[in-house]
Amino acid sequence: MAKQIRSPLPGIFYRRPAPDQPPFVEDGGSVEAGAVVGLVEVMKSFHEVIAEEAGTNVRFVAENEDPITVGVVLAEMD
C-alpha cells in the first residue's frame, strides 16, 4: 500500500528551497525517514515538511505553490 506524506500546516506548498534551486525530492525519487520533502509557507513564515518514514518512487500530488490545508496529502510513495 502506498505511503502518504501529509501537510502539517495550512498554507502554500513549495517543492524547492528557493525558486532557482532544484526540488528537495525529484518525482520518482527516494527519501530517508526525516528527510525534508518541501516547505509550507504559513503567514509569511516557512516550515519544513518532513517524511516520517523512508520511501521510494515519490509521487507528488500537490504542485509547487499550491494552496493547501492541514492534513492534505502532498505526496505518495512506496
Partner: protein, 454 residues
C-alpha cells in the same frame, strides 16, 4: 471636498482594507474591494459596496499582480486606487500603471516612490535636504591610512563595509584603531575576491538606539508634520508596539527632527502620507535618517489619536487634488497613545503562526480596535498574521499604559492563539513602564521571559 459619487478601489486586504473603507465612506465615496479567492469572506469585502476577485490565494498571483489589479480597478469604474501598506504600496511601476489607466493613485508620484525606495538615493536626497544620516566616510576608502583619518572623525565602534557588498556581506566591526588597522587590509582583500572591487567605506555602528519616526502629509507643494512615533519594541525587525509621541525626545530634538522631515518632504514635492524613519541615540541626543516609507503605515493610529487628524481620509483628499487643509500651526498633539499589534501567532511557542477560526470576540468599551476579525471568521494562512491593532489614549503615558492594561484584560478573542499574552506581560514590565527600551530590548527580553499560553 465632496467625493460622493467617486469610487475608490482598495487594492489590499485585512485590517487596513477595513480602515480605508471607513475613511472612504466618511468622505461619501463608493468602495470597491479587490480580493483573492481566499479572501472572499473577509470583513472588508462584506463592508464594501462591491467586490472583485483578483486571483488565486498566492499574493504574487493576486494582490501583487499589477496587471490584474489595475484591470480589476478599471473595469469596476474606479476613480482612484488605494494601495494600503505592503503589497504594491511602494511599487513605482504600480503607481505608474494606475495613472496610465486613467485612475488616481492614492500616494506619491511614481518618481518619488522610486527615489525613496533606493537606499543610496534616499540617503543622498536626505543629505541634500540637510537631514542627518549615520556618520560615515565620504565615498570610498582605499588604504588603511585613509581609513584611520576617516575613523577618527566618525568615532568607534564602526563598521567596515564593502562598497560593492550588500545584504550584510563583507561587514567587519572595529572597536578601536588597532582593530581598524588589522581589519581594513583583510576587508579589502576579501572585497576584491568576493566582489571584484576592493573599495570600502566606514559607518559608525549605532548599538543603543531607539526607533523614532515622523509622520508627514504633503500635497505636492507644501508639507506638514504630525509629530513622531516611538517604535523600538521590535522582533525580527517587525514592530510589535508603538507609541506617540516619543517621550524620550526633548522638545528641542522633537522640533528639529520634525522640521528636517518637513524639509525633506518638500524637497521631493511629497504628495500624500509618508514617514521618515530615524535611529535616535539617547546618549548623544542625536538622530540619523534611515529611510522614508511612501505609504500609510500600520502604526498610523497612534498619530491620529494624539493629533485628531484622520490620516487615511486626508491622503485620499490630497490624491483627489485638494491642498493641505492645515497649516503647521494648526496641528498640535495632546496626551499619549499606545498601539499593540495583535498577531495570530503563539508567543508561547516561538511565535508559531496560528491561522484558526475566531470564535467569540469581545472588545472593551472606550478603546479603538482596528481589526479584520468577526466572530466565525477563518483566517487564511496565506498572508501576514496581523489580525488587529489595539489602540488606547490617555492624558499621560502612565494613564495610557493603565488604559492599555485594562483594555488587554478586557479584550477576548476565542479560538485563536494571539500575541495578547505578550502584550499583557510587556504592559506590566518595569523597563517598558519606565520607557527604558531600545531596538534591541524585546529580543533580549524574550530570551529571559517565558510567555504563558493564553
Amino acid at each position: 471636498m465632496d467625493l460622493s459619487g467617486r469610487t475608490l478601489f482598495i487594492a489590499n486586504r485585512g485590517e487596513i482594507a477595513v480602515r480605508i473603507n471607513r475613511a472612504a465612506k466618511s468622505l461619501g465615496m463608493t468602495v470597491v474591494q479587490g480580493h483573492s479567492e481566499a479572501d472572499a469572506d473577509m470583513l472588508a469585502v462584506r463592508m464594501a459596496d462591491r467586490s472583485v476577485e483578483i486571483g488565486p490565494p498566492h499574493a504574487t498571483k493576486s494582490y501583487l499582480d499589477i496587471g490584474r489589479v489595475v484591470e480589476a480597478a478599471k473595469s469596476a469604474g474606479a476613480d482612484a486606487v488605494h494601495p494600503g501598506y505592503g503589497f504594491l504600496s511602494e511599487n513605482a511601476g504600480f503607481a505608474e500603471a494606475v495613472e496610465a489607466a486613467g485612475m488616481i493613485f492614492v500616494g506619491p508620484s511614481a518618481e518619488t516612490i522610486a527615489r525613496m525606495g533606493d537606499k543610496a538615493k534616499a540617503r543622498e536626497t536626505a543629505e541634500a535636504a540637510g537631514v542627518p544620516t549615520a556618520p560615515g566616510s565620504d565615498g570610498r576608502i582605499e588604504t588603511a591610512e585613509a581609513a584611520l583619518v576617516a575613523a577618527r572623525a566618525i568615532g568607534f565602534p564602526l563598521m567596515i563595509k564593502a562598497a560593492a557588498g550588500g545584504g550584510g556581506r563583507g561587514i567587519r566591526v572595529a572597536e578601536n584603531e588597532d582593530d581598524l588597522k588589522r581589519l581594513v587590509p583583510q576587508a579589502k582583500a576579501e572585497a576584491e575576491a568576493a566582489f571584484g572591487d576592493g573599495g570600502l567605506y566606514l559607518e559608525r555602528m549605532i548599538t543603543q538606539a531607539r526607533h523614532v519616526e515622523v509622520q508627514i502629509l504633503g500635497d505636492g507643494k507644501s508639507a506638514v508634520h504630525l509629530f513622531e512615533r516611538e517604535c523600538s519594541l521590535q522582533r525580527r525587525r517587525q514592530k510589535v508596539w508603538e507609541e506617540a509621541p516619543a517621550r524620550c525626545l526633548t522638545q528641542a530634538t522633537r522640533d528639529r527632527m520634525c522640521e528636517v522631515s518637513v524639509r525633506l518632504a518638500e524637497a521631493v514635492e511629497y504628495r500624500g502620507a509618508g514617514t521618515l524613519e530615524f535611529l535616535y541615540e539617547p546618549d548623544r541626543d542625536a538622530f540619523y535618517f534611515m529611510e522614508m516609507n511612501t505609504r500609510i503605515q500600520v502604526e498610523h493610529p497612534v498619530t491620529e489619536m494624539i493629533t485628531g487628524v484622520d490620516l487615511v481620509a486626508e491622503m485620499i483628499r490630497i490624491a483627489f487634488g485638494q491642498p493641505l487643509r492645515f497649516a503647521q500651526a494648526d496641528i498640535g498633539f495632546s496626551g499619549h497613545a499606545v498601539e499593540v499589534r495583535v498577531n495570530a501567532e503563539d508567543p508561547a511557542s516561538n511565535f508559531m503562526p496560528f491561522p484558526g477560526v475566531a470564535q467569540k470576540l469581545v472588545v472593551p468599551d472606550g478603546v479603538r480596535f482596528d481589526t479584520m476579525l468577526y466572530e466565525g471568521y477563518a483566517i487564511p494562512p496565506f498572508y501576514d498574521s496581523l489580525v488587529g491593532k489595539l489602540i488606547v489614549h490617555g492624558a499621560s503615558r502612565e494613564e495610557a499604559l493603565q488604559k492599555l492594561r485594562e483594555a488587554l484584560s478586557g479584550l477576548e478573542i476565542e479560538g485563536l492563539k494571539t500575541t495578547l499574552p505578550l502584550h499583557r506581560a510587556l504592559a506590566g514590565d518595569p523597563d517598558v513602564k519606565a520607557d527604558n527600551t531600545t531596538t534591541k530590548f524585546l529580543e533580549a527580553w524574550l530570551e529571559t521571559h517565558a510567555i504563558k499560553a493564553a
